[in-house]
């Protein structure tokens, strides 16, 4: 006999499925809507648009630039290899610009120096000219006789006072690379080798899906080629981390997804001994489809990390069909629709509690978890619907004769438990468990760091460190943001900050910094110089003695005094200003803003103090902020967990009564507590991710408690059902523990532990008396 609903439900579901498939096809019309940008996943803790803009400006080179050092014991060979490499890379089409030698634009440099003689003169030189004009002239005379000062860009007759030479000499040194004047290459000497610096700027950024991999391949090929010539390559770039992350994610999706799928299929075959039972995998596929569609619909795209963590959905989604398939051990003959009707209330409750658990994740400030929550909740709904509407129709007419040995194992376990309970009553066991928990929690320590998100291989890190050591380029992610009403005030504020930073540099706490006030003097200071030039004729006799015509000197002073006062925009024109150009944010919100970048920092807390009581100065420390958010989120996550439990209790009161509901929710909580304790015993840190993992376990293991409490088909059959469900879930989540991304593996470990404890504790859910 076929009920009308048994005919209608599959058809309705098929219509829905076709609609969702069509939507998915439309979403994928321009290729996979995937994203690999890590920064999209972390909490949006930057409310300020300017701060965000500044941050993007500072991040951009990290995501697009690659620093490569070509090392060889022989300088010439190193230069030659670098040249070949540069030409090859330029021809690859992956890079917008590959630069291995400096072809300085000397005329432009000269023009900038001459124009900036008042605006760019360093504080020290300015003070000497104003306060000790005799010494200033004396030094100029010395310099004219000095055969070793190096060539001056500007000929003496254009700059008798030698201001351009002083500006050239006071430029902050950029790292420890030196210009090889023969080849124009930038070379650093270290470890008995000459290292030629090559900078490459890619056409796209690190979050492009293809580019990082292509760049990493090219680098690998170049490495091999260079080593044939006896040269060594060291590379550092955000792109390489991105490439590595992508390869890793792909590998892990394959392993986790593939492993879980294979394991689950095998389990189904071994337990139920029918090929058609493999159709139980249909809800899983439908679940992944629903999850992906919902994710793209809500967020515009799906992150790779969501896919990795979401692949564990497989294990949960397969639980729905398992619920009624496992009834075949007691319900003989087994028929799909009646088995479903028997387990439907349990299934629906289980969907509701799981969704509550997953959606609790959505309220954390982590975009990553919101995505995973949406993906999983939508996926579960899809899996549930297909398990309820479609699968029974597909399995219609199948007679399940499952293998008997799993049942015997379950019976054995049940007897074992009974004999244990005879010797040690439950309250004593509980006391023991609580003792175990207390001991473990005592040893548990918490650790949160954004670096847990990145499973960078040590080789990449070592190379980046070597590049930083050899070149002296050690950019830090922290920087100062300085705001002011106008340019004058901005430069004053930067100068005040600069004084503090100078003392840090002198104490070796900071390697250096770049600020706009190093490039351009305040308008008032430029005026002081103009005034001071008036008194110079009284002091320049030594120059006249050398034969410098007085008329030439007078003409020069007149020319200097006529130089217009330079503002920041004017000072930024010209090749010398290049290092500073990114620092200027220009006019914003009725004022102006600029950044101060830092090099080689070893104490972030010290930096925070520098900004204290300096108006308009703010330290932007994204990493530090993130780590703080991590710690804060840990607390809010715990609160969310408790709230979700309250919700689940409310939901369960209806079928199980208050006492039963409380008991069903208490078990997963106890399991979570045991997992926490185990982490402590194992010496593993508690991270935000392990906490999220436990949050999930609560949601999933409520299922097991419900299953055990319902006891449809007897205790042993229910235990077997729970065991199967836990095994499949563990197959997918547990595999995450092998991930090389610390965050993901931490998540996998805590879920695995949680599942094991949930399974062990589930039989204490009690027994619900059914009306039937």
């Amino acid at each position: 006999m076929t009920l009308p609903s048994e005919r209608l439900l599959p058809r309705l579901f098929l219509i829905l499925l076709v609609a969702v498939l069509a939507l998915a096809g439309w979403q994928w019309r321009h290729g996979a809507p995937l994203s690999a940008n890590l920064m999209e996943l972390v909490p949006g803790s930057t409310p300020d648009a300017l701060e965000l803009k500044a941050e993007q400006r500072m991040q951009e080179p990290l995501n697009r630039e690659m620093l490569v050092l070509v090392g060889h014991a022989d300088r010439q060979t190193a230069v030659a290899v670098a040249q070949q490499l540069g030409e090859r890379w330029q021809a690859s089409g992956l890079f917008e610009k590959v630069q291995w030698n400096l072809q300085a634009d000397l005329p432009a440099l000269r023009e900038q120096l001459l124009r900036g003689r008042l605006a760019m003169l360093s504080t020290k030189d300015r003070e000497q000219l104003i306060e000790h004009p005799d010494a200033f002239i004396q030094q100029r005379v010395q310099a004219l006789f000095d055969p070793f000062t190096g060539f001056s860009l500007v000929p003496s007759q254009d700059d008798w006072l030698g201001l351009t030479g002083r500006i050239q000499n006071s430029q902050p040194q950029q790292g420890s690379v030196q210009l090889d004047i023969g080849s124009g290459a930038l070379i650093a000497d270290a470890d008995g080798k000459s290292w030629v610096l090559l900078r490459a700027r890619t056409t796209g950024n690190a979050f492009d899906m293809k580019l990082p991999l292509q760049v990493a391949d090219l680098l690998q090929a170049s490495r091999t080629q260079a080593s044939e010539q006896g040269a060594q390559l060291l590379a550092a770039s955000g792109l390489l981390y991105a490439a590595n992350g992508q390869q890793q994610a792909t590998r892990e999706i394959t392993w986790v997804g593939g492993g879980a799928t294979l394991g689950i299929l095998l389990l189904l075959l071994v337990a139920f001994r029918r090929w058609r039972v493999l159709l139980a995998f249909v809800p899983v596929l439908v679940g992944v489809l629903f999850g992906a569609v919902a994710c793209v619909a809500l967020f515009g795209h799906m992150h790779v990390m969501t896919l990795v963590l979401g692949s564990s959905l497989i294990g949960v989604a397969v639980d729905y069909p398992l619920h009624y398939l496992s009834k075949s051990w007691s319900l003989q003959p087994w028929r799909s629709w009646p088995a479903l009707r028997l387990t439907l209330p349990g299934l629906s409750l289980s969907l509701a509690t799981s969704c509550i658990g997953y959606l609790a994740l959505a309220w954390t400030p982590f975009a990553a978890l919101t995505q995973i929550a949406v993906f999983s909740a939508a996926g579960l709904v899809g899996a549930y619907l297909s398990a309820v509407c479609l699968l029974p129709a597909l399995l219609k007419g199948v007679e399940l004769r499952p293998a008997q040995w799993p049942l015997r194992i379950a019976e054995c376990l049940w007897l074992l438990r009974a004999s244990l309970l005879k010797r040690v009553p439950s309250p004593f066991l509980l006391a023991w468990v609580l003792l175990f928990c207390a001991g473990g929690l005592w040893q548990l320590n918490s650790k949160n760091d954004i670096r847990q998100w990145i499973g960078a291989p040590p080789q990449l890190l070592q190379e980046a460190q070597a590049v930083a050591r050899i070149t002296g380029f050690q950019p830090t992610s922290q920087f100062f943001l300085v705001r002011a009403d106008n340019q004058q005030q901005l430069l004053e504020r930067q100068a005040a900050l600069g004084q503090r930073l100078d003392s840090l540099v002198n104490m070796d706490k900071l390697q250096g910094y770049l600020a706009l006030n190093q490039l351009v003097n305040l308008p008032a200071e430029q005026q002081q110089l103009r005034d001071a030039l008036n008194q110079l004729p009284q002091h320049w006799q030594p120059l006249l003695d050398l034969g410098v015509p007085a008329s030439a000197l007078q003409a020069e002073v007149a020319q200097l005094q006529a130089l217009p006062t330079e503002d920041i925009d004017a000072a930024l024109v010209g090749p010398l200003a290049e290092p500073w150009r990114t620092l200027w944010l220009g006019p914003v919100d009725g004022g102006v803003a600029a950044m101060v970048s830092l090099q080689g920092l070893n104490n972030p807390t010290l930096l925070r103090v520098q900004a204290l009581d300096l108006p308009g100065v703010q330290l932007v420390d994204r990493l530090g902020d993130l780590n703080r958010v991590f710690a804060d989120t840990q607390i809010s996550a715990a609160e969310l967990k408790l709230m979700s439990c309250v919700l689940i209790v409310l939901l369960l009161i209806l079928p199980f009564g208050f006492g039963g509901a409380l008991r069903i929710v208490a078990l997963p909580l106890l399991a979570a507590l045991c997992s926490l304790a185990s982490l402590g015993w194992l010496g593993q840190p508690l991270t935000l991710f392990s906490l999220f993992g436990l949050l999930l376990v609560t949601a999933i293991s409520v299922d097991y408690a419900i299953l055990m409490r319902e006891q449809i088909g007897g205790a042993a059959v229910s235990l077997l059902g729970t065991l199967l469900a836990a095994l499949t879930t563990w197959l997918s989540f547990g595999l995450l523990a092998v991930s090389s991304t610390p965050a993901v593996s931490n998540f996998g470990l805590s879920v695995s532990l949680g599942l094991a404890f949930s399974f062990m504790l589930a039989p204490w859910a009690g027994h619900q008396k059914h009306a039937l």
């Binding site: 010439q76 400096l102 072809q103 300085a104 000397l106 005379v141 010395q142 004219l144 006789f145 000095d146 055969p147 070793f148 000062t149 190096g150 060539f151 000929p155 003496s156 007759q157 050239q168 000499n169 040194q173 030196q178 210009l179 090889d180 004047i181 023969g182 080849s183 124009g184 050398l546 034969g547 410098v548 030439a552």
Partner: protein, 196 residues
């Protein structure tokens, strides 16, 4: 007779040809210490007279060069592989190692010590004359160097006698080394100056 002249000139050209860069290098690298006086003329395009200064120098193999300016002003310099230093009241002060300047000083040392391999990297070298009277012409190869020097001329016999640096800007410097002697060892004070 004509044959004889031809033969003589052939021998002469052969011997002249035989004086090559390697021999010049060996010859200049032979003495371990050279003492001498110098006259330095800086010809600035805009000045009618050159800036002339005088002093003494000490070139010590493997140590470097002491360049002691005496008139019209007193100033001591030291160039070594570590870079350039200037003496003030507190002793030797290393000068900021500006990349281009440092490179020029490396060149200077290479010229004085006859390190032709060091020079060949960056310049085309042309050698004329024989061991007792030669002239070496350096023409820069790279674009960057060409923007600084048009040519460097070095004259000498047993030792370097004159160095002429022609800058692209139109200025030039002539260094004349006179009374060079190779016999005298380093004095205690000079040894001390190199050691610091």
């Amino acid at each position: 007779m004509r044959v004889l002249i031809l033969f003589a000139s052939l021998i002469l050209s052969l011997s002249a040809h035989a004086f090559d860069l390697q021999q010049l290098s060996d010859q200049l690298a032979k003495p371990s210490v050279i003492h001498g006086t110098f006259t330095q003329e800086k010809h600035l395009r805009a000045l009618p007279q050159p800036l002339v200064s005088k002093g003494t120098f000490v070139l010590a193999k493997d140590r470097g060069l002491l360049w002691l300016l005496k008139t019209p002003l007193q100033q001591d310099y030291r160039i070594s592989t570590q870079g350039i230093a200037r003496r003030d009241a507190n002793g030797w002060q290393p000068l900021p190692n500006k990349s281009a300047g440092a490179e020029q000083n490396r060149l200077f040392l290479a010229v004085l010590q006859g390190d032709s391999s060091g020079l060949q990297r960056d310049f085309d070298l042309q050698l004329q004359g024989d061991a007792t009277q030669w002239k070496l012409t350096l023409t820069p190869r790279s674009l960057l160097l060409k923007q600084v020097f048009t040519q460097i001329n070095i004259d000498g016999g047993e030792l370097v006698q004159t160095i002429q640096l022609l800058e692209t800007q139109g200025d030039s410097t002539v260094l004349r080394m006179q009374d060079s002697t190779a016999g005298q060892p380093l004095s205690e004070a000079e040894r001390h100056d190199f050691a610091q």
